[in-house]
C-alpha cells in the first residue's frame, strides 16, 4: 500500500533564510504524498530530508544546541493536519560535551492531512525550515512547496522506496506489555531543580538503551544517567524549570530507544512534573 509514492514538484523551493546566503547546501528536501491515502481525502504528506554525510539536522527537542526542524501545513478551509510524526532520533556528541538530538543521512517528517470533499490538494502548501550542522559549520535553510494538482495521481520514482520503513522508525506508546514505567521525583529544591528517577521494568532484557527527553524551551536538564541491569533500566536526571515555561505545564515527554536485533525501536511516554 505504501510502496509507491507520488513526488510532487515544488512551485517554490528556497534554501535561504536570515538573508544570509549559505556557502554550502548540505540538506536537500523533497516532498511526498501517499497517493492511496489521498484518494479517501486523507493522506500522509511530508518532507523528505536528504542530509550530506557528516551533517545532521535536529529533532523536535534539539538538545544543547541547534533548532527544532519545522514542517508546517497551510490547508484549504476545513482541512486538518495531525501532529508531525517524528522518527526516533539519534544522539550526536559534539566537542565540549555538547549533545544534540536529531537525524543523519535522511529523515521523513510527515503528518496525516485531511481535506474536506470538494477541496483541492492544490490549496495545500508546506513550509519546512531547519538548521543543518556539521562539526565546523551550521547552515539554516527553508523550503516552501505548493502541491501541483496536475501531478496528483501520477506515480513517479521517489527517493523514498517504502514508507513502511519510516513508519517503523516512529516511536510507539510504551505499555505494560513492553515495560512498566515508574517515575520517582524529589520535591522542588533550590533553584527550582527537581530530581527524577525513571524506572523501566522491561518484559525482556533490553538491548542497548538510549533516552531522549523533550523539554521544549522550558527546562534545563542536568546530570542525565542511564543504567541497565538485567530487565531493569533506571534513568536519573535533574530539571530546572525556566521562568519562560508556561505555568500550567505539568508534564514533559520522553522517548526511550532500545536496539532489538540490530534495529532501533522507540517508545514514548509522559513524565509528570511539579
Amino acid at each position: 500500500m505504501f510502496r509507491l509514492f507520488l513526488v510532487l514538484s515544488a512551485l517554490l523551493v528556497t534554501n535561504l533564510t536570515f538573508a544570509i546566503e549559505p556557502e554550502v547546501d548540505p540538506i536537500k528536501v523533497d516532498l511526498f504524498v501517499d497517493p492511496v491515502e489521498q484518494q479517501s481525502g486523507s493522506m500522509f504528506i511530508g518532507a523528505h530530508f536528504t542530509i550530506e554525510p557528516n551533517w545532521h539536522l535536529y529533532w523536535r527537542y534539539p538538545g544543547d544546541t541547534g533548532l527544532p526542524t519545522q514542517v508546517k501545513f497551510t490547508l484549504p478551509e476545513g482541512g486538518t493536519s495531525g501532529p508531525i510524526l517524528w522518527p526516533s532520533p539519534v544522539k550526536f556528541s559534539q566537542a565540549g560535551g555538547l549533545v544534540g538530538f536529531g537525524y543523519e543521512h535522511e529523515v521523513v517528517l510527515m503528518s496525516e492531512v485531511k481535506i474536506p470533499p470538494g477541496k483541492s490538494a492544490e490549496e495545500i502548501s508546506i513550509d519546512a525550515r531547519w538548521v543543518g550542522c556539521s562539526i565546523k559549520l551550521c547552515v539554516p535553510g527553508k523550503a516552501s512547496f505548493k502541491l501541483k494538482g496536475s501531478e496528483l495521481g501520477k506515480t513517479t520514482t521517489s527517493k523514498i522506496q517504502d514508507l513502511s520503513v519510516w513508519r517503523d522508525k516512529l516511536p510507539k506508546e510504551i505499555n505494560p506489555g513492553i515495560a512498566l514505567v515508574e517515575v520517582h521525583r524529589s520535591p522542588v529544591a533550590d533553584a527550582a531543580r527537581q530530581t527524577f528517577e525513571v524506572v523501566y521494568d522491561w518484559k525482556s532484557a533490553p538491548g542497548k538503551l538510549e533516552w531522549f527527553p523533550d523539554l521544549g524551551r522550558n527546562f534545563k536538564i542536568f546530570d542525565t544517567n542511564i543504567k541497565t541491569e538485567g530487565q531493569r533500566s533506571v534513568v536519573t536526571f535533574s530539571l530546572e524549570r525556566l521562568a519562560t515555561a508556561p505555568a500550567d505545564l505539568k508534564e514533559i515527554s520522553a522517548e526511550v530507544v532500545q536496539e532489538q536485533s540490530g534495529k532501533r525501536v522507540g517508545f514514548g511516554h509522559k513524565i509528570e512534573i511539579n
Binding site: F18, A19, D64, G97, L98, V99, T224
Partner: protein, 196 residues
C-alpha cells in the same frame, strides 16, 4: 592491542550509559568564573578588573549564520551602545577553535565592533561558563555574580516582529536595582565549535 580494545570497550560502555553529558557550568546566582583573555587589539581583560560594573558576555563566532544574522541586524552593537552610557561593559568571547586572533581582528574591523572581542580559542572560559551556542549570552552583576544565562532573545528564526530581548530585560532589571525577572533561558544558535 588488547589494552586498546579493553579501553575502547570501556569508553563505549561509558558513552552508552550517559544520554546527556553534564557540562560543568556557571550557575545563576553564584560567582561568575574569573578569566584573563586577550582582545583583538592585544589588550588583556579580566572579569575582576570590571568589579562593581555590570558585564555582558556574548559568545560569538564570526562564521555562525545566527551570529551573522544578529550582526547584520545590529542586535549586539545597538544593545552595547544603548547600555554603554549606563556603565555596562560588553565583552564578546570567541571559543571557536579554528577562529584565531587574525580572523577576530579582521571581523571586528569589518563589523566596526568597538567593544573587546576576546580570544578563548582553547575553550577554557567557554566551558567554565557552560557556553553552548553562538550567540550565548551571560550577564554578570555588580557583585560579580552571574545574573543571566541564555538566549539573546525570543527570535529563533529571525522573523519575529515583536521579539523579547532577554539581555535588555536583565540589564534594565539590574540597573533599576531589581531582581532579574528572567534569569535563565534556553540559548539558540550554532553549537560552540570547541576544540575536541
Amino acid at each position: 592491542m588488547k589494552r586498546m580494545i579493553v579501553n575502547s570497550i570501556l569508553a563505549l560502555c561509558f558513552s552508552a550509559s550517559v544520554a546527556v553529558a553534564a557540562v560543568p557550568e556557571a550557575t545563576v546566582g553564584t560567582k561568575a568564573p574569573e578569566f584573563s583573555l586577550v582582545d583583538q587589539n592585544g589588550a588583556t581583560h579580566t572579569l575582576s578588573q570590571y568589579a562593581g560594573k555590570i558585564v555582558v558576555l556574548e559568545w560569538t563566532n564570526p562564521e555562525c549564520p545566527f551570529v551573522k544574522r544578529h550582526y547584520k541586524a545590529g542586535t549586539m552593537k545597538k544593545l552595547e551602545a544603548t547600555y554603554k552610557s549606563k556603565g555596562v561593559i560588553w565583552l564578546a568571547v570567541n571559543s571557536t577553535h579554528f577562529v584565531g586572533p587574525e580572523k577576530l581582528k579582521a571581523w571586528s574591523t569589518e563589523q566596526e565592533i568597538s567593544y573587546p572581542l576576546l580570544n578563548d580559542q582553547d575553550g577554557t572560559v567557554g566551558k567554565a561558563y557552560g557556553a553552548k551556542t553562538t550567540p550565548h549570552m551571560f550577564v554578570v552583576d555588580k557583585e560579580g555574580k552571574l545574573a543571566y544565562d541564555g538566549a539573546i532573545d525570543t527570535d529563533l528564526y529571525g522573523d519575529e516582529s515583536d521579539s523579547k530581548n532577554f539581555v535588555a530585560l536583565a540589564l534594565d532589571n539590574l540597573i533599576a536595582g531589581a531582581p532579574v525577572s528572567i534569569s535563565s533561558t534556553t540559548p539558540y544558535g550554532c553549537s560552540v565549535k570547541y576544540k575536541s
